[in-house]
Structure formats: C-alpha cells, structure tokens
Assembly symmetry: C2
Homo-oligomer: 113 residues x 2
Amino acid sequence: MQNEKKDKNKRTIAYVEEVFRQIQEKPDVTDIMILNSKGNPIKTTMEMSAAIQYAGLYEILRDKVTMGLQKIDPKDDITMLRVRTTTNETLIVPDGKITVVAIQKARDRYHNE
Amino acid sequence: MQNEKKDKNKRTIAYVEEVFRQIQEKPDVTDIMILNSKGNPIKTTMEMSAAIQYAGLYEILRDKVTMGLQKIDPKDDITMLRVRTTTNETLIVPDGKITVVAIQKARDRYHNE
C-alpha cells in the first residue's frame, strides 16, 4: 500500500482509533461508524448488518453531494453533511480517504420551545 | 388542483411568501430557494440559471435521503438536511410538498478557534 502519490490524506489505524475515541466522549452520540475509501465500515459501534445498511446510504450521499458541489463550485469542499430526522441527527464528515459518521439524539432547539 | 386527499401538507402561495420572508430576516442567510413538489424553484433570491442548477442537486439529495431513511426506519421523518462546505452551509428542509433551501455563510465554530 505504498501509493503515496494519491494518499495525501491517508488515515492510519491509530488515527481512526483516536477519532473514534474522541467522538465516543461526546454525550449525545449513540452510534459511530468509520468508513474506508471503499465505503466499507472499518470501525463501528453498530451491529455489522446495520452498519452495512447504513454505510451504503452514507457513501451514496457523500458521493452525490461531492459530485453536485464539484459542478457548482469546484474550488469548494464539503466539510460536513447532516441529516436530521425526528428521532436523531446523523453527522457525516469526509476526512481524507475515510468518512466519519456519528449519530446523535435529535435535540429540537430549532422547534418551538 | 383540488386533490385534497394527497395534499394534507399543501402549501399555499401565502405560506411560501411567509416562509421566504421569515428566512430573509436571518442575518447570515445569503440565498433562499423554495422548490415545489416537482423540484422546480418557485421563489428564490438566485438568478434563474443558478437556481435551476442548485435545485436539481437539492431534489436528488432530498430523494436519496428520504429513500434511504425509508429503508432504515419507515416511521422516521427527515426534518433537515445540512451540507456544510468551506465557504457556506446549505440547509434543506422538506416541508410537506415544498422544499425550503437556505444558504448561509459558514461559521467555523467547530474548527480550532
């Protein structure tokens, strides 16, 4: 795996472990998933069957948004993608060759309260 | 247009105008776009060529996320989708038959500062 030319943003196992640990410390996070460059989960708190199901969706989303942005402004980069539902909020962060996904409980601060 | 059966969440022109006005009051918002159920921009601050380009992307995103969530948890609903780039953040809110899109300046509160 010495193709360093393409791997400016290579992420080591130690890096992945550290990211995972830092996210786990956040109080509202219920699940974490880290995907490799092929979109496969390499570390996660989920059961494998759920992880694979989610991973497919995240990867499609990351790709669609990246391609869309490429058309609109090729100089801009995605830093975070959030999907908020009634029960939770999913944060998808493209980080070099990996994608970091964190799922946290939804807090309705923007609703009428 | 009296197909009320399907139109539980029908949005009137007055509703659209009011949503638009409320978003325009937010200080960091640079652009607003409201899409109808077909994904076409019905009211926007953008130039039409840009609006159409963006609208296509938002509609794809809304559809992908909705379909994905449907598979994962059919009882859950999307309340907001956010795409953050280095220069701005786009908020996409499915609201019944319309989709409300607001683009605001990115604030780097989650970065190292």
